[in-house]
C-alpha cells in the first residue's frame, strides 16, 4: 500500500481553483513548502504524470507540496476563452497562500515547467519572498512560444486530418492545439520577456533544460546580473511536452537533478 498522503480540494475565490496537497512524510523537517506551477494546454496534459511524480518525491523528502490548476485550466472553473496570464500570476499567489495555510510553513519555493517556470519567475520577482526557484525549461520569450505553438498546431493538422480544411488556416488565430485562444491571451503571451525582469525572482535558482538554448543562457546571465545565485544544468532527455500523451513520459534524470538541488541548496 502506498504511503503517499494526498488530498484534492477546491480553493480560492468562489472555490474556483483545483488543488492537490501532498502532505510531507514525517521525519525530515523542512523549513519550506513547494508549489508546482504547470504549463498550459498540451504541455500541461503531457507533463501531468511527471509533475505528479515530482510532487510525490518531494513529499517523500519531507516537503509539503501543492499542485494546482490555473483558472480556466484542468479541473479549475472557467472556460478556455477566459485564460489570462495576468490572472494566472494572481492564481500562483493565491496558491502560495493556500499552501502556507495547509502546511503551516511560512516560506514557499516554486518549481515551474515551461510556461509555469516563466510565470513562477514573474511572480517570484514581484513578490520577493521566494526562497528557491526551479525554472524547468523556462520560456524566456513569449513571442517565440506563440510561434512554437502555431507551428505545432499546423504540424498536428498535417498529421491527423483527412483534409486540412480551409478554415483551419484562419482558425490558428482563435484556437491552438485543442484549446481556444483569445486575442488577449496572444497579446499577454507575446509580451512575456524574462530578460526584462528588474528584480531577481528568487535568491537561489536552478535553471534546468534538456537542450541548450541561447535564450536560456541569456536568462541565466540576466539572473546573475540581478544578483541571484543561480545554477544551470543541462540534462538531456525527452521533450515530454511534445510526446504522445499516451506515453506519459517521466524524465527521471531531470526529476532526480531537481531533487538533488532542492534538498541540498
Amino acid at each position: 500500500m502506498s504511503t503517499e498522503d494526498m488530498k484534492p480540494f477546491y480553493f480560492g475565490e468562489d472555490q474556483s481553483l483545483f488543488g492537490l496537497y501532498h502532505a510531507p512524510q514525517p521525519g525530515q523537517d523542512r523549513d519550506t513548502a513547494v508549489l508546482l506551477c504547470a504549463s498550459m494546454g498540451q504541455d500541461y496534459i503531457r507533463a501531468h504524470r511527471a509533475n505528479r511524480q515530482l510532487a510525490v518525491r518531494l513529499a517523500r523528502a519531507g516537503f509539503p507540496v501543492m499542485r494546482f490548476d490555473y483558472y480556466a485550466s484542468g479541473d479549475s472553473a472557467g472556460e478556455d476563452s477566459e485564460v489570462s496570464i495576468t490572472r494566472w500570476q494572481a492564481d500562483i499567489s493565491t496558491a502560495i497562500a493556500e499552501l502556507k495555510r495547509r502546511s503551516g510553513v511560512s516560506k514557499v519555493s516554486l518549481i515551474g515547467m515551461r510556461l509555469g517556470a516563466t510565470l513562477a519567475a514573474l511572480v517570484g520577482a514581484q513578490r520577493g519572498d521566494t526562497p528557491r526557484l526551479v525554472a524547468w525549461e523556462p520560456l524566456v520569450n513569449g513571442n517565440e512560444f506563440v510561434k512554437e505553438l502555431i507551428e505545432r498546431h499546423e504540424e498536428r493538422l498535417r498529421y491527423f486530418l483527412t483534409k486540412p480544411a480551409a478554415e483551419a488556416e484562419h482558425q490558428k488565430r482563435t484556437e491552438l492545439l485543442g484549446f481556444a485562444v483569445t486575442e488577449l491571451l496572444f497579446n499577454e503571451l507575446r509580451q512575456i520577456d524574462l530578460l526584462a525582469l528588474r528584480q531577481k525572482p528568487s535568491q537561489n535558482i536552478l535553471v534546468i533544460e534538456s537542450e541548450a538554448l541561447p535564450q536560456t543562457a541569456k536568462f541565466q546571465s540576466h539572473l546573475e546580473s540581478l544578483g541571484a545565485k543561480s545554477q544551470y544544468q543541462l540534462v538531456e532527455g525527452p521533450r515530454i511536452w511534445t510526446e504522445d500523451p499516451d506515453k506519459a513520459l517521466v524524465p527521471q534524470q531531470v526529476l532526480q537533478a531537481i531533487m538533488n538541488w532542492i534538498t541540498t541548496s
Binding site: 500500500m1 502506498s2 503517499e4 494526498m6 488530498k7 484534492p8 480540494f9 477546491y10 483545483f18 492537490l20 496534459i45 501531468h48 504524470r49 505528479r52 485550466s73 484542468g74 479541473d75 472553473a77 472556460e79 478556455d80 499546423e154 504540424e155 498536428r156 493538422l157 498535417r158 498529421y159 491527423f160 486530418l161 483527412t162 483534409k163 486540412p164 480544411a165 478554415e167 483551419a168 482558425q171 482563435t174 484556437e175 492545439l177 485543442g178 484549446f179 481556444a180 500523451p245 499516451d246 506515453k247 506519459a248
Partner: protein, 303 residues
Amino acid sequence: MKEEALLFGKYESLIGIVTEPEASNQTAVLLLNAGLIHRIGPNRIYVKLARQMAKMGFTVMRFDLSGIGDSKVRPDNLPFEKSNVDDTRQAMDYLQQTHGIDRFLLIGHCAGAVNSFWTSLEDTRVIGIGLLNLESGDQQWDVYDYKRKVSRYYENYYGKTALSDMSRWKKLLTGKADYVSIARNVFRNIIWNKVTNIFFRYKNKVVKSQQVVDALRDVFIKGLESLAARNARVLLIYAESSTGMERMQLLVGQDLRAMRDSGKLQMEIIKGSDHTFTLLHTQDALFNVLEEWSGDVAGVKAT
C-alpha cells in the same frame, strides 16, 4: 452547477470530480480515462462535457483509474482490464450511496470506450454507453495506421503548404532546396507508404483473418446484442480520420450495420476530426451528438 473534488473507493485511492446539476435527472454520467490522459480528457473535453451535461440535469463524474492520473495504484494484484472495471463500478457505488442514483451512462474515449464496454456487460445499472473512437488494432494495423499518417503529413506538407509558399518555390527554382530530402519524402513517405497500404488493405479484405472476425463477433457483437437485449443503449462515435472505424467496418461492418438498421445501436461520424478532436468545431459536434443521445436515453432535453 457545483464541482466537488474527492477521494473514493474501497481503498480511498481514486480521485474524482463530481459535477452537480442544479436539478438532478437521477441519471449519472461517468467519463472514463482516455488511455493514460488524466481525468480532464484529451484537450480538456471531459471537463467541458461534464459541465454541459450537468446543465441537462446529469450528475457527472470524471475520475482517474488506479495508477492513472492522480489515483494511486491498487494494493491488490488485479490485472489492469479487471481493475478498470472494478474501479468504474466503485465510482457507480459511490454515486449510488451518496446520491441515490442507480442509472448510469458510461462515456469513454479510446481505451475509455473499451472500459465502458466491459463494465456495461458486468453491471446492469448501466443504461447506455457512448464509445468514442473505439480501437481494436493489432501490431500490423498500427504500422498501417502510422504509414497512413506519415504519408498524409508529407502529402499535406508538399501539397497545400509548400505549393502556396513563395519562399519554398524560390528555393526550389534557384537550386537551394534539398532535392534528396524532397525525393525521399515524396517517394518513400508518400508514394511507397500509399502503395504498401493499398496492398495491406487489399490483403486484409481478401484474406482477412476469420479467427479475428470470429473473436470480434464472439466478444464485441455478442456483447452489443446482450446490451440490446436488456435495452441498454449503445452509441459508437468515430472521428472521420479514425482507422479504428475502418478496421471495425472491415471486420464486422456487416454485423454493425445490421444492428444499426434494427435500432440496436447508433453510429455517428464526426467530420473533419482527428482522433482526439483537436479542432474546436469537432469538439462542438461531438458534444452535440453526446448531448442529444444522452438526453434521449435519459428522457431529458439537450440544452
